[in-house]
Symmetry: C2
């Protein structure tokens, strides 16, 4: 029941086959958006899983084989791995093709990948706002992007036709697409994603530092709030290490604001300033309402 009219790219190349890469493979195949999918991963074990799960038409042992002749190449590796891969990928990019990525930080990919992109290739960084606490090629599923946002951060001179083509791919996978300037993206994500992850990682670590008797009780009674943090703090350690190292300035800026606010609330608790606490907690309740109204809950 192949429907040729849905095909947007003839050959799509995925570099890196973790949670996002494998979900892209599933989604593009389910929706018949690519005629052919080639996959490369630096880890032979990941390539073996990709073969076993038949995630692509060709699972390649070299970047060259995967990238050559691709109409769209999507880099799906941790932010810290992009710089090393960039010159190798760039060598094989086809003229007129699109190069994109799925990383959580966009200025860094512009910095690490951008300078290597040949003139005739359309470079359009991207970031699907989707994920789970699982990672690796077995973690992917076709519906991951359904109903989620995908932010594209093309530079001003980028060909609008190429942008529209990539937009259609994401829309075909069920996402809504938003265009944004890379620096602004990194600011917004610093507060909506990077800082929440850092805080969740911190508190779960703090809990593991308590005496052993208390630790088992922390697990037992986690349903009281802590549990939500552990899900976030179970996200891929390497990916998140790279997010913080590559979006350092925006994360430190948001962290500074957060710490100021936390200190103010700490002081209110110490001095028994109930009104201040209640006023703050009432304001935050309204934010939840906005999110429910925006259909993101």
């Amino acid at each position: 029941m192949s429907d040729a009219s849905t095909i947007i790219f003839d050959k799509v190349c995925l570099i890196g086959i973790g949670l996002i890469g494998s979900s892209l493979a599933h989604a593009m195949r389910d929706r018949r958006l690519a005629r052919r999918i080639s996959i490369y991963d630096i880890d032979p074990a990941a390539r073996d899983v990709a073969k076993e799960l038949k995630l692509g038409d060709e699972i390649c042992d070299t970047v060259e084989a995967a990238v050559t002749d691709a109409d769209l190449t999507v880099v799906c590796v941790p932010a810290g791995a992009v710089a090393d891969l960039a010159p190798e990928i760039a060598k094989y990019l086809k003229a007129g093709s699109i190069l994109s990525d799925v990383g959580s930080v966009k200025q860094a990919v512009v910095r690490d990948l951008g300078p290597h992109v040949p003139d005739m290739v359309h470079f359009i960084p991207g970031h699907p706002i989707a994920g789970t606490e699982y990672s690796g090629p077995r973690a992917g599923f076709a519906e991951l992007f359904q109903g989620r946002w995908c932010i594209l951060t093309p530079l001003p001179a980028t060909d609008t036709k190429a942008i529209e083509r990539l937009r259609h791919l994401w829309e075909g996978m069920g996402s809504q697409v938003e265009l944004m300037e890379p620096g602004h993206h990194d600011q917004v994500l610093a507060i909506t994603s990077h800082l929440p992850h850092l805080i969740a990682y911190t508190i779960v670590g703090t809990a593991t530092g308590l005496e052993e008797s208390t630790q088992s009780e922390v697990i037992k009674f986690s349903a009281s709030g802590f549990r939500d943090f552990t899900r976030i703090a179970a996200s891929d350690p390497i990916m998140w290490r790279d997010v913080f190292l590559n979006n350092r300035d925006a994360v430190l800026e948001m962290l500074g604001r957060f710490t100021e606010d936390l200190t103010a609330l700490q002081r209110a608790i110490r001095w028994g300033e109930g009104e201040k606490l209640q006023e703050w907690f009432t304001r935050t309740r309204a934010v939840r309402r906005s999110i429910i109204d925006a259909n993101q809950a």
Copy 2:
């Protein structure tokens, strides 16, 4: 289809009919654990809702009418409201009856309620580890306690038969019961519940302090981590104000540990210490595994 054999208490009195009180009413009626339920709430509007929803057999306009002749009285009000209510409730407690509560802080209720309890009444503070971000008499539902823990913190001299009777009630509503010393309870909950709530309240507040243009994007892209925090930060402001004011020492202690850890991670980000970050994030991932193994996820 009344089954007399399930009845544990003849008359149960609920003081306060918010999320927990109304859930108790639903659960006890559904499971036929009480022959008669009386309800008092200081707020006439809440009493009207209780009448409308038929949450109890008698919705009383006075503490006296509600408490008189009750075999079990459960105080379900914010921690800050206990001290004022205590002498009034104490006046009408029946000899041989049980007095309990459902508050998130246990030393404070021992302090505020304990001294007023007549000699012939069994005082057994309690804390069901269950809740939602909704509040008020319409928020309750019978299954809230199903599969959840309930912690009881009786003082050493408490009659064991009375404790067992209260345990059976909670088990009848689907909970598992654990006994704990009040001070230890407050420590454990400070890290598993109170600190997570404080942090969630803080970061959601921090986000509302950003420029307006960024704020709408925070809502839009909340799915990336922030959304989980907004659910927690939508919890009842008055209840949580009172938790922090009444568990001040334990919360400030845990907050101190958290801030030290956060500062260490902040420094690692600033100085690009990737290994330190990765090691920390790998450790926290294991905690999630423990929670899944403990069936609390």
